[in-house]
């Protein structure tokens, strides 16, 4: 009997069209646009100016606070301007524009494919290296990794959980990474274990990836303390709290951090980035992105430099099909529609999904029939229909009393609603309002 989380969950069609497609290195574009806010927390501060020459891996923006991350150039060339760009949501964000010239990397970066297994650094040195490399959680939340590895005083992790679930339909970047870079990931996991001083790590993989499970199990035999745990397929198992419940059967209290359950969760892509940063001195400036869609000629997994315009990725996968209705940044469940394809991909972009016109249209909203399907599927045990009504009537006290801030915005409620009610749209609005109210009350 395979494990999974115990409350709610859904099973949308998997549609993993690009599964097992080999990682293809995408050609470097003529110009990259590197946003200064690619992570949760304060935006990074640019330290370069127009006309500066940079190499791939050169630090171009420094972390702007404790919860923030360094940003490095992903290409070699000349800074065109430090300006603002319209981001994927249509709002203005600060960004650095770099004109590409050749592909020269910083000398300190080891570009060979050779596996370096041994590491003689202390925990502190590993964390410092991770911070310097600007690594953020690559599962999509883009939380700065060094912050997660430095728990508040008095807390001690006992187990490291590696999130290789990839529960979002369509996305395959973590899957292919495990197939091609299994050993590197395991070294990365060992480094993370050392950084937080734990003896045990569990890599959770959903069992719709049997080849990855098998390969990781074979490789993990030579890495003491690392266990591979196949999990039952269930969305949103990739959610931090859901994965903790699935793997160690502990529930994280409302408002608490995973460390309160004695664990730290990291994404499998993050583990690979940690390996590259610590053993190869390579900052995080490229990542694997799934480009997919039912009408797309060639769904693929690309290794892409940060700042590459999204249209280049789509072009490389066969161009925008005629009947495209929406381009989604991320997966179909939690991703967001992009307003145009000129926006650059960032550290957190795990996938680009092209939906057809038929798929992208929302069905007409009907009245709630009080079937409680949303209540059944909510993985946080919330009452989505109540929270939606509370938001609609601006009853913030009711929303707060019913834990609206615990919503992980997985979209299971909206997905399952037979009346097509926009539950998550409202809950997200209410969550924002209530968070603001709570913050105002505290200060």
């Amino acid at each position: 009997m395979l494990r999974t989380f115990r409350i709610g969950g859904i099973h949308p069609p998997e549609n993993k069209l690009s599964a097992r497609k080999k990682i293809v290195r995408l050609p470097i574009p003529k110009q990259v646009i590197i946003p200064l806010s690619q992570h949760i927390g304060a935006p990074a501060q640019a330290i370069v100016k127009k006309g500066d020459l940079v190499k791939a891996g050169t630090l171009i923006a420094k972390a702007g606070g404790f919860v923030s991350a360094n940003i490095h150039s992903s290409v070699s060339g000349k800074i065109n301007k430090v300006d603002t760009t319209i981001d994927a949501s249509g709002y203005k964000r600060a960004a650095i524009f770099i004109d590409v010239d050749g592909d020269e990397w910083e000398e300190s970066i080891d570009r060979s494919d050779e596996l370096i297994k041994d590491c003689f650094l202390s925990a502190k040195e590993i964390i410092d290296k991770i911070a310097a490399a600007g690594i953020v959680g690559l599962g999509g939340a883009t939380f700065p990794t060094q912050v997660k590895l430095t728990p508040p005083p008095g807390n001690k992790a006992e187990i490291l959980i590696i999130n290789a679930v990839e529960c979002e339909p369509y996305l395959t970047s973590d899957h292919i990474l495990m197939l091609e870079k299994g050993k590197e990931i395991l070294v990365g996991v060992t480094l993370l274990m050392k950084a937080i001083d734990v003896k045990k790590a569990v890599i959770g993989i959903e069992n719709n990836k049997p080849d990855a499970i098998k390969q990781m199990q074979t490789l993990a035999a030579s890495f003491p303390g690392i266990e591979i745990m196949p999990l039952k397929v269930q969305y949103p198992q990739g959610g931090e709290k859901q994965l903790i419940d699935a793997v160690i059967r502990k529930q994280v209290k409302s408002g608490a951090l995973p460390i309160s359950a004695g664990t730290v969760v990291q994404n499998v892509g993050t583990a690979f980035a940690v390996y590259e940063a610590v053993q190869k001195n390579k900052p995080l400036f490229e990542r694997i992105v799934t480009v997919t869609g039912k009408q797309l000629a060639n769904p693929s997994n690309f290794l892409v430099r940060v700042g590459t315009p999204i249209k280049e990725l789509i072009e490389a996968a066969g161009g925008v099909p005629e009947n495209t209705g929406k381009i989604i940044g991320g997966g179909p469940m939690m991703g967001k529609a992009l307003i145009n394809a000129d926006v650059p991909m960032s550290k957190g972009s795990s996938g680009i999904l092209l939906l057809t016109k038929e798929e992208s249209i929302r069905k007409p909203v009907q009245n709630c029939i009080r079937c409680a399907k949303c209540v059944n599927v909510c993985p946080m045990g919330l009452n989505p229909t109540l929270l939606m009504n509370a938001t609609e009537f601006q009853n913030w006290d009711l929303a707060e009393a019913n834990y609206i801030v615990d919503c992980i915005e997985c979209g299971s409620c909206s997905y399952t609603c037979p009346a097509n009610r926009p539950l998550l749209d409202y809950i997200r609005l209410g969550k924002g309002k209530v968070t603001g109210i709570i913050r105002a009350r505290k200060s």
């Binding site: 709002y91 307003i339 249209i361 926009p422």
Partner: protein, 297 residues
Amino acid sequence: MILIAIISLGGIGAVGAILLYATSKKFEIHEDPRIARVQEVLPGANCGGCGFPGCSGFANACVNAENLDNLLCPVGGSAVMEKVAIILEKEASKTDPTVAVVRCNGTCEARPKTNQYNGVSSCAIASMLYGGETGCSYGCLGFGDCEAACDFDAIHINPETRLPEVIEDKCTSCGACVKACPKNIIELRKKGPKSRRIFVSCVNKEKGGVARKACTNACIGCGKCEKECAFGAITIENNLAYIDPVKCRLCRKCVVVCPTMAIHELNFPPRKEKDTEPAVKPQKKPEPIETTTPENK
């Protein structure tokens, strides 16, 4: 037998009556009778525009306040406040009546759609997701949160322009639409003599080129109006002009020089013929509006 019943029941009734009377006297809540009188003259809309919970809350605040300086019923305006002042024998503060003004003129023609939104028809939700269906992320989204928030049926989305329009006679300046608008487009402005007012109908803070590309009616921050204004009422900040309603003398010169027609005038009589041309030399002032307006040059 009947007599016993009457006496005992009557006795119980009498004892109960005495008890009730005693408790009601003992626990009586002394409410200032003026509160009820003040509440009578208030409009009774319970809109919350004054900042208090409904009209009774406001009446209570008026009675308890030392003076009426910071208290204003935006619905009733000065007229109601004077009545309140008479009841309370206090001095009412003079305030200019205000009215809601929509500072966006990005009509469908001026501001073409760049994408299509097909989610919940609510400005608050759409603006949380992204910048909107047009190239201008500052402008009106047109889903009518202001219309829904208005208790007085005073603001409506024009189906042709997809922009809200205020019905001045109905607008009580309660500020509900100002709060509802996630883009902060609506402003409560001085109503002005004969409801005449001039304002910049744009909130786009982008540089001129970018703003113009997104919307042909956008303020591009060129500064022509600032130079033209003889009263120092116009300031430009973040590529956006703002007309101070207190300093503005309603001369309308800025309206003519604006290259994008972003400055709007309301309720003015039509101009004389030559007024439609861009003002090269100072024009004659179109009929005196305020007695205090000085003749310049």
